[in-house]
């Protein structure tokens, strides 16, 4: 039976790509142009010849006449005019040809308007329709962007997860996402004649398949959790920097935008929902209490983690005229508190004090290590810029396509106490944070070595370190403190289901308030008002327009978390935008339950099961050669199939060989049926085939079934 399985598993080798058929017309074109040019040159020669051997046919008066008469009777002056006209014409023709040269060689690089409007070039659309891009798979080899042939015979780009990955993939219009970064089809990419002859075809760049680190199931879980709220979730594997899920709600449907320009325009101009905005990467939020994490890191790095503070209800730094209190108006953790209790109870008082003790320079140093921008002044230089370089990616285009906006704060040697006291608990000049950055922040503690790993989205890249922030012991200690948040801290109640499942996790809640502009219902844009500046005499010296902000602030909810405690496999940041001014969302109440559900889902998918969640993706393109290997006998029921009905689970408990043989027979049968034109996609067959799979212990070996859910590769079982 194994030999039968061998034979049936074999997939045909792909046909050798023949020499591109465009070469022949390209050669012929060159021959044509050369032939015509030759004819033209010969004609030019013919004229030039007439020049030199000019017969005296031009009429001139006989030389016996006096000079002035001869001039009047002669045609030389008229001819001079004609000659001048001839050269003027030639000059004008060359001048106009110069415009052609400009458009052909320089406009594409140097004319910004031309580049911007390139999307209107119908050739791009023709090209993207006629060339096939590579396929994009998730980390387990399931296709996220593929081609499908519908009933009319049209081949269309399909996105099985449509809006779940819309921000990551991007569309043909607007800012490029991964689709355009990986498979950019602009008409400049198509080779011209001499390049075709050299052998360059457009397919070389565009047909490569990519495997992402995204997990389809986790991404779907994130989508389900965020339904109905504006917000974002970013989930990393803190040990390697892989992005397991990244989603921003509201999102949009890629399918809808694919052919419909009006749909895109409408989305672009929706200033209230802003569905095209990737909130995970490109929107600033006030971090609130989650920023205390950075303060904790700074304290540990500078050996100040033993700082203690005694409070009875507030902290009043001298000279600032303001008292910092906790969220309840007094103190949530009173008396003499240390960093651990302060973090657990989210004490603004303590961290405000700590920030003033640490000073701007230390905070600046640590902030830079975790990927934040720490600027001495808020002059606007470089603030709000993109930081594509933070990605560990194979090309600049990918970095630029998913480049996050740099989160920043004002911290430096000249930071005053009054500024720092707010930054300590995530307000003031520390109000520009993206969810992506906050996920990176918690990944530092979740990493066993205390490193921040560069985020990566391509599965076959080697992990790269961004910075070594903490020592191993410090990271372990901090993880312990973060665990306290879930046990008796601000996330105690929300983490109950996680604790019930026996998972120990760590995290930090945050609630922050942000001023939101008032949206004018007529235009859909933020309302503006004119502010008139007057001098002390009351005379008007100037005026400008300002955005009108709502009186009531919007309250956003954060929760940062990682799990499990001893060897973290996931680290995430959950952000929920408050529904509106006046209605409050709290970190512990609204964001933490979402994180709890996601942790449970990750457990179900096997991420915590002792190292089973690392890279199961295929390395390289999908069109690679596929050899089969014999597997060791397995008899355990794979955990993933806990979801299946009892009958199927029973079957899946069959001995390994038997189930493999069964699969092979079924597959052969199916192939034979498909070859005769019958397409089998019944749900029961799907389930039947899926159940006979290899348990996850074999990271290199997966099965390809009729639906391509798993993939057969060549690496042996470990």
């Amino acid at each position: 039976m194994t030999s039968l399985a061998f034979v049936l598993f074999q997939s045909p080798t792909p046909l050798q790509p023949a020499a591109p058929p465009e070469k022949l017309p390209a050669w012929l074109t060159l021959i044509y142009i050369s032939g015509m040019a030759l004819v033209g040159l010969l004609l030019l020669l013919s004229i030039a010849r007439a020049w030199f051997s000019r017969a005296p046919s031009a009429p001139t008066a006989p030389s016996s006449l006096p000079k002035d008469l001869r001039k009047r009777l002669g045609a030389t002056t008229t001819n001079r005019g004609l000659r001048a006209w001839r050269w003027l014409f030639a000059a004008a023709a060359i001048f106009i040809f110069g415009f052609h040269v400009y458009w052909a060689r320089y406009a594409a690089d140097q004319n910004p308007k031309f580049q911007e409007l390139n999307y209107k070039d119908l050739r791009n659309r023709r090209l993207s329709e006629s060339t096939l891009r590579g396929w994009i798979y998730d980390r387990k080899g399931r296709p996220l962007a593929l081609y499908r042939r519908d009933n009319n015979g049209d081949i269309d780009r399909e996105y099985p997860m449509d809006s779940a990955l819309a921000h990551i993939f991007g569309s043909d219009r607007g800012e490029p996402g991964l689709e355009r970064a990986l498979f950019g089809t602009e008409s400049g990419v198509v080779p011209e004649v001499w390049q075709i002859i050299k052998g360059q075809t457009v397919e070389q760049k565009l047909n490569k398949d990519y495997t992402l680190t995204i997990d389809q199931d986790l991404q779907q879980a994130v989508v389900d959790q965020l339904k109905g709220n504006h917000g974002a979730v970013v989930m990393f594997n803190p040990q390697t920097g892989e992005v397991l899920a990244m989603y921003s709600n509201p999102s949009y449907s890629l399918k809808q935008v694919q052919d419909d320009e009006a749909a895109w325009l409408k989305l672009n101009n929706d200033r209230k929902e802003r569905p095209l905005l990737n909130r995970a990467l490109n929107e600033y939020y006030v971090p609130g209490s989650t920023f205390k994490t950075l303060m904790m890191y700074t304290a540990f790095r500078n050996n100040m983690q033993s700082t203690r503070f005694t409070t009875s209800g507030g902290f009043t730094p001298p000279g600032c005229g303001r008292t910092i209190t906790d969220d309840n108006g007094g103190c949530e953790a009173c008396g003499n508190i240390g960093i651990d209790v302060a973090y657990q109870k989210s004490s603004n008082i303590y961290f405000s004090y700590l920030a003033t003790q640490l000073g701007g320079s230390k905070i600046q140093e640590t902030a830079k290590l975790v990927g934040l921008g720490a600027y001495d002044s808020v002059s606007g230089e470089g603030q709000g810029r993109r930081e594509p370089e933070i990605w560990n990616a194979s090309s600049k285009a990918i970095q630029n396509a998913i480049g996050p906006t740099e989160s920043w704060l004002k911290a430096g040697p000249h930071s005053t106490r009054c500024e720092l006291m707010y930054e300590g608990y995530g307000q003031g000049y520390a109000s520009q944070m993206t969810p992506f950055q906050m996920a990176m922040l918690i990944s530092v503690a979740a990493n066993l070595e205390g490193r921040l790993m560069k985020p990566k989205i391509e599965a076959d890249r080697a992990p790269e370190m961004f910075a070594q922030v903490l020592t191993r012991d410090q990271a372990a200690q901090i993880r312990g403190i973060m665990n306290m948040v879930t046990e008796g801290g601000t996330a105690n109640a929300a983490m109950t289901p996680v604790k019930a499942a026996g998972i120990r996790s760590g995290g930090k809640t945050g609630t922050a308030q942000k001023a939101v502009p008032v949206i004018d219902p007529r235009t859909g844009e933020p309302m503006k008002k004119t502010v008139v500046e007057k001098d002390f005499k009351g005379k008007i010296i100037g005026q400008h327009e300002e955005i009108v902000f709502n009186e009531k602030l919007r309250s956003d909810a954060w929760y940062l978390s990682f799990a499990p405690l001893d060897k973290p496999a996931i680290a995430m940041a959950v952000l929920l935008e408050g529904p509106g001014p006046g209605i409050s969302f709290y970190g512990g109440k609204n964001a933490a339950p979402i994180a709890a559900q996601l942790i449970l889902k990750a457990k179900d998918l096997g991420y915590f099961g002792g190292g089973a969640s690392q890279g199961k993706s295929t390395a390289g393109s999908a069109t690679g050669k596929e050899k089969k290997q014999v597997m060791g006998a397995r008899e355990r029921t794979p955990k993933a199939f806990a979801n299946f009905s009892p009958a199927l689970r029973a079957v899946s408990a069959l001995p390994w060989e038997l189930s493999r043989g069964l699969y092979a027979t079924l597959k052969g049968l199916r192939n034979r049926l498909v070859a005769t034109g019958i397409d089998l996609r019944t749900p029961s067959e799907f389930a039947l085939l899926k159940m006979t799979f290899v348990p996850r212990r074999c990271p290199g070996l997966k099965f390809a079934n009729a639906f391509g859910v798993y993939r057969l590769t060549s690496s042996p079982c470990l």
Binding site: P12, P14, P17, P21, E22, P25, A26, T29, L30, I31, Y32, I33, G35, M36, L38, G40, L42, L43, L44, A55, P56, S57, P59, T60, P62, G74, T78, L82, W85, R86, F89, A93, F97, F99, W103, A104, K120, L122, R123, S130, L132, L146, R148, D154, I155, E192, V193, E203, N207, A262, L265, K266, N269, T523, G524, T623, N671, A675, D679, G708
Partner: protein
């Protein structure tokens, strides 16, 4: 290379061979995209060289042509390029099909299936819903066969227009080689001009928007009699005009001439064919300057022309450029009201082509509202907000008015130096690419080299034409030849300039290369006339040599009549 008939016939045969290569290239490229090109069409085109060579033979053997052959061969070179591009465009189902979207879909599907069959393995094919093994690759049948039948070829205008052009060529040659005809024209030039105004008047009354009978302009052949008439008038009067008082000729002489020159402008203004107007003014200016060589008149004339042009330009400038200079907006406003919308539109496209005009602009507003009325979805989008209206405006601008020039520029840019390759580019997305925008199609598929070839051929033609004019022994011939050369040269430059944004776009075609409408017939008629003049020059030259050889001759040379 000598100016002999035999050498040029060899060149013509070489042209035919090269042309066959080009046609084969188009055939192969079409197979890649899955549609078949018409063999009948190719045969028809290549057989067109047969009457061309017959015509050359007739001119040479029957009429004993002794003039400059370069004119003929260069014209046929341009004609061949035009023929090839026309074949390329008309065999493309997307260009000439009724259902363009379906044709386009077929093309892209063919290309994709080809790629899939070559590169996808069974897994991917199954995921896509295809059978696991690709069909065998032996037969290369195209998806869509060309539907061009023999009957189509026989009745098509693309067969008959070149034939008529050659007949026009023969007629023009015969007439203009005849001294009696030329002197009749000279004597009755005024009547000739008036007579040709009649069909123009009919055209104004019957047509609208400057184009009649589809896309043709039947008054194009009127250019030739105009030229002959004007040259005749100028020949009769140029000596009087040369007699100036304080730099200006007598009113008796100049006023009828001005009236004469102005009369043709009126019908073209009424027909809104500004391109023709531009060419006419260019040709007439050339004639005047060639005939009357007095510096003050030159300056006054050129100065007044510049003044008129600058007033028009300033008036038609887009508003943001106008605002940059003081006083100009005030000066420009009356001009703007007088200028028709089309000129303003053309100027905007020329100077600000990549920016849409504001929806409130008087000349754009009507088109904008029309477009919104046609597409209710866009209309409701535009009403949502100002920003939305701007985006919709940009879309409509590029899809309606700026579509043709924008796609032409994109085409030229994608051609780069060596072009995309015959049949491998996308010139079919440019509307009317086979007549007005043929240079853009050449630039896309053959690149800078192809464009340079066309420009070089035009320059050669003009040089040869000017040589004909220089060698002419009498003023009438000189002026006619110069005028004809100016017509063809300036028309070519204005067309190419319009496409490459050196000048505002006008609706005129590239001579010899565009096969649309009456352009080809007029061009060949002009070629015939030029060759007739060249023939006369050669005959005169021989006569001169014969006379000069007689040493006792005291007949003074009447150099210029």
């Amino acid at each position: 290379m000598r100016n002999r008939f035999s050498s040029h016939v060899l060149l013509l045969l070489a042209l035919v061979v090269v042309e066959v290569v080009g046609y084969y290239a188009i055939y192969r490229a079409a197979m890649i995209r899955g549609y078949g090109t018409s063999v009948i069409g190719a045969a028809r085109d290549l057989l067109m060289y047969f009457p061309i060579i017959v015509m050359a033979l007739w001119v040479s053997a029957f009429r004993k042509f002794k003039g400059n052959w370069v004119l003929f061969t260069t014209a046929i070179l341009l004609f061949s390029v035009g023929l090839l591009i026309q074949y390329r465009l008309y065999s493309d189902p997307e260009y000439n099909a009724r259902n363009k979207a379906a044709a386009r879909q077929e093309k892209t599907d063919t290309l994709r299936m080809r790629y899939i069959n070559q590169n996808y393995d069974a897994n991917k094919r199954q995921l896509m819903g295809l059978p696991p093994t690709p069909p065998p690759v032996e037969q290369e049948a195209p998806v869509r066969e060309s539907g061009y039948t023999l009957a189509n070829a026989i009745t098509s205008s693309y067969t008959w227009i070149p034939v008529f052009s050659l007949i026009a060529f023969a007629l023009a040659f015969s007439f203009c080689a005849n001294d009696r005809f030329l002197s009749w024209i000279q004597r009755n030039s005024f009547i000739v001009v008036l007579l040709t105004l009649i069909p123009l008047g009919v055209a104004i009354v019957s047509s609208s928007a400057g184009k009649a009978v589809g896309n043709t302009t039947p008054w194009e052949p009127a250019k030739v009699p105009f030229l002959l008439g004007f040259a005749g008038i100028l020949t009769a009067r140029y000596k009087d005009l040369a007699r100036t008082y304080w730099g200006i000729p007598r009113a008796r002489d100049i006023i009828p001439l001005i009236v004469m020159a102005a009369i043709p402008f009126i019908p073209f203004f009424a027909l809104k064919d500004f391109g023709q107007m531009l060419i006419f003014s260019g040709a007439y200016a050339t004639l005047y300057l060639v005939a009357v060589r007095r510096w003050p008149q030159l300056l006054v004339f050129v100065g007044s022309v510049f003044l008129v042009i600058s007033i028009l330009v300033v008036g038609a400038l887009p508003r943001d450029i106008q605002a940059k200079f003081p006083m100009i907006p005030t000066l420009a406003r009356p001009v703007q009201h007088a200028l028709p919308a089309r000129i303003q539109q053309r100027f905007h496209l020329w100077l600000d082509g990549f920016d849409p005009p504001s929806p409130e602009e008087s000349w754009w507003k009507k088109d904008f509202d029309e477009a919104l009325a046609k597409d209710p979805r866009m209309k409701e989008l535009a009403e949502e907000s100002e920003a939305m209206k701007k985006s919709v405006n940009t879309d409509i601008w590029f899809d309606k008015l700026a579509f043709q020039p924008a796609q032409a520029i994109f085409g030229i840019a994608s051609g780069k130096t060596t072009g995309r390759g015959l049949g491998l580019g996308f010139p079919e997305v440019i509307p009317i690419a086979d007549s007005d925008y043929v240079y853009a199609a050449v630039a896309e598929e053959m690149g800078l080299l192809g464009g340079g070839l066309v420009v070089l051929a035009i320059i050669i033609f003009v040089i040869a034409g000017i040589r004909t004019s220089i060698d002419a022994r009498d003023m009438f011939t000189k002026l006619c030849a110069a005028g004809l050369t100016a017509f063809i040269g300036i028309q070519a430059l204005v067309n190419i300039g319009g496409i490459t944004r050196a000048l505002p776009m006008t609706g005129i075609t590239l001579p010899f290369v565009s096969h649309g409408g009456f352009s080809l017939i007029t061009s060949f008629a002009m070629l015939g006339m030029l060759m007739a003049f060249s023939h006369r020059n050669a005959q005169d030259a021989r006569a001169v040599r014969t006379i000069a050889r007689e040493p006792e001759s005291t007949i003074p040379l009447e150099a210029v009549e």
